[in-house]
Structures are given as structure tokens and as C-alpha cells.
Amino acid sequence: MNNYGRIRGFTVLMVVMQNLIWILLIVAVIAFSLASDAFLTSFNVINIFWQSAPLGLLVIGQAFTLITGNFDFSSESTMALTTLIAAQLMVSSASGGLDLMVFPVFSIVVMLLLGSAIGLTNGLLISYLKMNSFIVTLGMLMLLRGIVYAVSSGNSVSNLPQMFTWLGGGTLFTFTVGLKTLGIPVAAIFLIVAFVVAHTVASYRRFGREVYTVGGNRAAAETAGINSRKVILKVYLISGLCAALAGWLLAGRLDSVTPRMGTGMIFVVQAAAVVGGISLFGGRGTFIGAFGGVLLWSILDSGLNILQVSPFWIEVARGGLLLFAVFIDAIRVRFMHWLSHRQALAQSTIGLEVE
């Protein structure tokens, strides 16, 4: 009885640990609002969502690959290349384009197709040729960034058509708060819709089920008749597509595409996913948690900026948060093992005969 009480006590602890991201989020919000009046304003909240949209899309793609137990480091370069090509198709040579003046809808289609094609290439190399995902995508990261520099000759592309920038930079439902006129950013709505779709796919569709299985135990998945190679191919396709969408959002907000767009962002993406509870070992994590990870990351950025903390110390805080997240994940895994041994012993009839 006492024992059972202990297990139940630990179950409560387990629930706390599973939802740690939301507890951290609340703590962060409270701490920053106490520290500065400028933090919890509608302007800043809108801004946080706006800024986190491209990161969020990259995290969605990354989370799918991580859940299958693979990496995709190439997504930041995929994002830069797809967006650069799309931008160059649309603008004049004076703005860094190719003078083709392609209609935005067409160039968006090209962009999404290119992202998917890059993802497909990664996926084929990793699933069918059984190459290591870490190395393949690391190579792709460098290769694609090189192409970006070569294609752009180091020049930025600007003056993007409004139809293109609407998704990342446009607003809806304008309203007035005090002296400022604010609007809900399209990007923020898109971000939330994207996470809802991702969550639905992962938790309620057959494909999502298979993604978790492949990541949880690939041998068992195959024995159960799941085509794990196809599943892995698909997650990379999704990752490539998400990278292109992220680029579309980012280019819209900045109204330009630079060759260095997104450099170093992959570390932030991985960190946000891990902080949100996506395991690097595959099979564990939810998209709701990942969304929390993205928000926490943006809140930390925004809050520390408002407090005028030096960028160097912001980097320290980011690193510290990441280490903390991995630490919690490790504890969670150990705890799970401990719990499983206990419960297995408690349930086995052989175990009861000992006394």
C-alpha cells in the first residue's frame, strides 16, 4: 500500500516532468513581466509570435525527423536556397533578381517543389542507401549554403512583391491600443495552423503513428509490417517542405533575402525541439511540446532583449537552457526505466511468491 502510494507520488512527479515546458514558460513569462513593463504588452506578445513563425516551421520539420530517430541539419540551408531562388525569379536585376519577373504564385510553387526535392534527396540517401543521417544532412548543409553563395554572388535580393511578403509580413484584423495600431500577423496565424496540422498528422493519422513506431523501435516496426524506409523518406520530404515555408515566412517579414539567411539557425531549431520534449533518440515527444519549446525560446530572446542583456549573455542563457533540457530528458529516461522495473516486478505473479 505504502509502495503503491510512492509510485503514485512519482506519477505526479512524472506528470510535472512531462509538462515541464509549460511550467518553464509560465515561470519565464511571470519573471520577465515583473522585470519589465514592456514585456507583457500586446505589441510585444504579437512580436514574439511573429518572430517565432519561421523557427516554428523549421522545428516542425526537424521534430518529424527527430521522432524517427534521425537528424536534419540541412534545413537552414534548404530554407535559404529555396527562398533565394524564388526571390530571384520575381524581382528585377536592380534588386538582385534575374529580371524574369515571374508571377509570385508560380515562384512560390517552384520554391515549395524545390524544398520537397531537397528533402526527398536527403530521404533517399538516408533510407534507401542507408547512409548516416547526421553526415548526409551535414554535407547537405554545407553544399546547399555553398550553392546559395554561388547563385547570389553574395548579393541580397530585395523589393519582393507584396503578394509574396503577405504571408510573412502582412497583418489581419487591425485594432488600436492606445496610440499604436496593431494587427494580428498572418505569420502568427499560419504558425498556429501549422502546429495544429502537424499535431493532427502525428497523433491521429496513420502516418504519424508509423513515425513514432519507427523511432521507438525500428526492428519491431518492420516486423509489424511497417515500411520504415518509406516513413523516413516522407519525414525528410516534410522537413524540406517546412524549410521552404519557413523561408517564405522569414523573407516576408524581412522583405529581403540575404545569402546568409538562417546561418546557425539549425542549432536553435534543435535546441527548441529538445527543450520542447522531442527526444534525440527517437520515438518520444509531441508537437504541442515542440510548440512550447519554440515559444520559450522566443520569449527568452525577447525578454532578455527588453532587459537589455548583452548578446553574449543571451548566448550563455540559451546554452544553459539547452543543457538543462537535456538534463531533464536524461532524468526522465532513468526514471522511466526505474518505474518499468518496479511495475514489472509488482505485476509478476512469480515476484509475489518470494516472501
Binding site: 493532427t200 491521429y204 493519422r205 496513420r206 502516418f207 503513428r209 508509423e210 513514432y212 513506431t213 521507438g216 523501435n217 526492428a219 519491431a220 516496426a221 518492420e222 516486423t223 509489424a224 509490417g225 511497417i226 515500411n227 520515438g283 518520444r284 522511466m336 518505474l339 518499468s340 522495473h341 511495475q343 514489472a344 516486478l345 505485476q347 509478476s348 505473479t349 512469480i350 515476484g351 518470494v354
Partner: protein, 521 residues
């Protein structure tokens, strides 16, 4: 035997001076449990010097766990090991070696590309001037040591040039050079040709004469009677007997190994239809099995058994597409059966329960619900490939009820269930695919008696619904209870067939057939 041991200049003085019989090792009340299973329970064992103590038991009886405890490779939950007057509660591998326990595994691993001499002196090669090794001295020293054991092996030869007998003998010799008092031999003759077994035996006997104690693990019972002085029997983790071999016979030994009360389950003789579900003709896979001919009819439960490496496991894995199946004609439900992947096998309504549940059976991180429906998601999806949650829950709940899966909810992670319940989850997954042929590989491994009975009941139910079952197992008593027919595989061939109800179809005979020494009549 009781005479003063012969002294051939053997290096260990202690052994020479001790009067006989002296206990080398005394294990008292050793226990070790893993989640859900008592691998070894309250086992006591004594080994005397100059004695060969046989250790027998079926696969999974706890032999290897016991050896690991004696070697200090695993910590016992309780009990003590006493060696050379010292008592250990938890021995480290170093202490075990220091105390003089050596283990010679079935597959001896030595540094193959070195010579015999280098292998013997590995670790303390005599260094000459400038740190160079004095190879002449190495060879002489190695030769001298081998002569002491009257073992004639060319010390200049590379180890990979030796045959298996010589390699095993060299491993024993090496153990003795490091002053081992007790040598644990794990199936030393398993890979040996018949002629060499006697050579090995005479070597072991001469070591015994010099006062070395042996624990001799073997599945070949004649060998036990030939070379051992005493024999200890493990069954389900418990020491069920310890006798002088002169006092018992082979039948008694087998009865101890098999036990009596494995299961209360009994299965009625269902009328079996004439319709053939699986037929295999002249199936050959080189190195694994040859000329396999068999057929399974609708509703029939066929057992397939054999020692490790006899081909029964490879055949099952081959049929399910996990391994190469080989060449021959295989028909399932009258149609040619080809499966290169488990997916294709499942598509042809063949389901397989793997022996390694944790690796191939369950996804421990995911829920009971998900684990049961992995193979049938195709049938559960509706618009936009969204899984029909209501139908899934109904289906899973019915399986939980039918098989008696103990779980507090269908969302419980499978990794947190006990072994028996995990196995029932895997079983449900197979049954959900509505197979026409079910291949079960050690379905009762590591699960408790109640869960075993539940699983037998399900096999029986399925059989009355017309599902054909191929049951690969070493649990002969269980096979004789549940199967309509039992096929025995030996060295890649089907050697015997026992039919339920025949007078000869008793577990003792089946065990003899498995070991290749059954003579009908």
C-alpha cells in the same frame, strides 16, 4: 580417483599439497531476478577438486545466469560464493579470476593472428634488451608449459591455423597457466567432430587428475554420463537435483530437467481438416537446413523443436521474410509463397511472433493500444487517413478482455507492463491481422505460468477457428501438451515426427530426439 594426484610439475603448489576431497567452490543460496522472472533462485552448488560436475538444464533454465554470477559478471541479489576459504557476497570479475575461476566459452575467442606461443604468454611477454621481445625465450617457455600438461601443439603455429579441438584445449591450458582451480566449460564439444571428443575428454581427465575442478555444461546427456562425476540439474532457475552420475540414469535425469507441473493446460483433440495451409517441399538453405518437407493443415498446431543451430529458428525467420528462406517450393493456401520482407509475409496472411520480444515485438515507448494495431492500421483509417479512434478502442478493448491483459488503461506504455502482458500484446497484434498461419517462436519465454496458460488457450481457440500454427520451442513438455504433431530438427534436417496420442510421444523421448540420440522402439 582418491589416490594422491599425479604431480607433473604443475605450477600451483596449493593444489598439490591439499588432501582430497576439498571443496574448491561452495555457492550458497544464490538468487538473481530480472523484472518479472527469477532467473536463479536459491541455488546452492559445491565443486570439489579433481571432480567434474555436470550442469544441465533446458535453455532458459538459468545455467548462463548461474555461470555469470560465479564469474562475478553479474551481482547476485542474495547468497554467497565461497572460494579458497574466502566468502564473497558480491564478487567482481577480477576477484573471480584471482580466486581461480576460469570460463571457457563455447566459441573460444583468442587473438587469432598470433602464434600459439604468443597467445600463451600474451600479457607478460619476456622483454629482452632495448625492450625487444626475446622470441626464442617465448617459444621455449610456451613449449615447456604445454609439455607440463602433456599437450602437443606446435607453438609456432598461428592460432587460426589450429582446429577447434586444439583451440579449446589451448584455452583450457591458458586458464590453467593463470592458476585456475575451477574451470567452467560451456558446451566444449558442441562444435567438435566425433573423433576429437575423446581427445578432449582424455585431456580434461588428465587435468582432473591434477586436481582441477570442472563445471561441465552440456546438452549432450551421454557426455555427462561419460565424463562427469556428479551432475546438477537446473530447472526454472532452481536447483532440482544434484546426484552422482553412478546413482541415476538418463531417464531420471531428463525427468528432472523437464519437470512435471509445467502447465495444467490440456488440449482436446480437435478434428483437423484435410485442407493444407502451408506446404514446404525440398527447401534448402545451405548452412542452415536442407531437404525440408513438411505441411501444416488447417487448424493444426505443429511443434518444431531442436537445439540452437539445428535450423528450426532459421526456418521460421526465413518464412516470415526476416532472413533468406532458401530454395524450394513453399505454398501458402495453395498459392506460391514468396516473402522477402515481413510486410509481404503479413500480406499473405502469415504472422510471426519473434522470440526476442523486446527487439522485434514491442515498441516499449508507445501505448498498448498502438502496439496492438500497428499491423492493421490500413483497415482502421477513414477520411484523410485519420485513424478511427472509436473502432480502434473497441478492438483493443476486446483483445485486452479476451487475453486477460493486465493494464490500467489502453494508453499505458507497453514498456511498463510485465513480460507476460507484453507477450499478450504482441499476440494480440498478430491475431488482429487475421492470419491463416501463425508462426510462434518461443511464445512462453520469460513469462509466468498464468500468462502461459492464457496463451495456450488462445492458440487452442485460434486452432478451432481454423488457424494453422507452427510453434518453435524448446519447451518439450509444453509442446507435447499443445501440439498435434511435433517435428524434431537436428543438424538442419527434420529427423523425427511425434504424433499426439502415440505412446512414444512423451517429453523424455522428444528431448532425446532433440539431442540426436533417440532410437524408436
Amino acid at each position: 580417483m582418491s589416490s594422491e594426484p599425479e604431480v607433473k610439475g604443475f605450477s600451483d603448489k596449493e593444489i598439490v599439497n591439499c588432501p582430497q576431497p576439498t571443496i574448491i567452490l561452495r555457492a550458497r543460496g544464490l538468487s538473481k531476478s530480472f523484472p518479472g522472472v527469477h532467473a536463479v533462485e536459491n541455488v546452492s552448488l559445491e565443486v570439489y577438486r579433481g571432480e567434474i560436475n555436470g550442469l544441465v538444464g533446458k535453455n532458459g533454465a538459468g545455467k548462463s545466469t548461474l555461470v555469470r554470477l560465479l564469474m562475478g559478471l553479474q551481482r547476485a541479489d542474495g547468497g554467497t560464493v565461497e572460494i579458497g576459504g574466502r566468502c564473497y557476497e558480491a564478487m567482481t570479475p577480477d576477484e573471480a579470476l584471482e580466486a581461480g575461476i576460469a570460463y571457457v566459452p563455447q566459441q573460444v575467442s583468442m587473438i587469432d593472428s598470433l602464434t600459439v606461443a604468443e597467445n600463451i604468454l600474451a600479457g607478460n611477454l619476456p622483454a629482452g634488451k632495448f625492450g625487444f621481445i626475446n622470441w626464442k625465450e617465448v617459444k621455449q617457455e610456451a613449449k615447456r608449459r604445454l609439455q607440463k600438461l602433456s599437450l602437443e601443439i606446435d607453438v609456432r603455429q598461428r592460432v587460426d591455423g589450429l582446429n577447434i579441438t586444439e583451440q579449446t584445449m589451448l584455452a583450457i591450458a591458458k586458464a590453467l597457466f593463470s592458476r585456475a582451480k575451477l574451470i567452467i566449460l560451456d558446451e566444449p564439444t558442441a562444435a567438435l567432430p566425433k573423433v576429437d571428443i575423446q581427445r578432449m575428454f582424455s585431456f580434461i581427465r588428465s587435468m582432473k587428475q591434477q586436481g582441477v575442478g570442472f563445471i561441465y555444461i552440456s546438452h549432450h546427456l551421454e557426455e555427462i554420463f561419460e565424463i562427469c562425476d556428479r551432475v546438477s540439474v537446473l530447472r526454472d532457475g532452481q536447483m532440482v537435483g544434484n546426484h552422482r552420475v553412478a546413482e541415476i540414469n538418463q531417464t531420471q535425469l531428463i525427468q528432472m530437467m523437464v519437470g512435471q507441473s509445467v502447465s495444467e493446460f490440456s488440449r482436446a483433440n480437435n478434428p483437423i481438416s484435410k485442407e493444407v495451409v502451408l506446404s514446404i517441399e525440398n527447401l534448402v538453405r545451405r548452412g542452415h537446413y536442407e531437404k525440408i518437407n513438411m505441411s501444416i493443415r488447417k487448424g493444426e498446431v505443429v511443434g518444431l523443436t531442436g537445439l540452437k543451430g539445428s535450423g528450426s529458428e532459421a526456418l521460421a525467420a526465413g518464412l516470415f521474410g526476416l532472413e533468406y528462406l532458401g530454395r524450394g517450393t513453399v505454398k501458402l493456401n495453395g498459392k506460391a509463397f514468396i516473402a522477402r520482407t515481413p510486410r509481404q509475409a503479413l500480406g499473405q496472411r502469415l504472422a510471426y511472433l519473434p522470440a526476442d520480444r523486446h527487439r522485434f515485438g514491442i515498441v516499449g515507448l508507445r501505448s498498448v493500444k498502438e502496439n496492438i494495431t500497428y499491423s492493421i492500421l490500413k483497415r482502421l483509417v477513414r477520411l484523410f487517413m485519420i485513424i478511427n479512434d472509436r473502432r480502434e478502442t473497441e478492438l483493443v478493448s476486446s483483445f485486452i478482455k479476451d487475453l486477460g491483459i493486465v493494464t490500467h488503461s489502453i494508453e499505458q506504455k507497453v514498456g511498463l507492463l510485465s513480460g507476460g502482458n507484453q507477450q499478450k500484446v504482441v499476440f494480440s497484434k498478430l491475431v488482429a491481422t487475421k492470419p491463416s498461419l501463425l508462426i510462434l517462436h518461443e511464445p512462453t519465454q520469460g513469462i509466468d505460468v498464468d500468462a502461459k496458460t492464457d496463451i495456450f488457450r488462445v492458440i487452442d481457440d485460434l486452432s478451432s477457428q481454423g488457424v494453422a500454427t507452427l510453434l518453435i520451442s524448446n519447451e518439450v513438455r509444453e509442446l507435447s501438451v499443445i501440439c498435434d504433431r511435433i517435428l524434431v530438427m537436428c543438424e538442419g534436417k527434420i529427423t523425427y515426427q511425434f504424433i499426439k496420442g502415440d505412446a512414444e510421444a512423451i517429453p523424455e523421448n522428444i528431448l532425446l530426439a532433440i539431442e540426436g540420440s533417440y532410437e524408436p522402439g
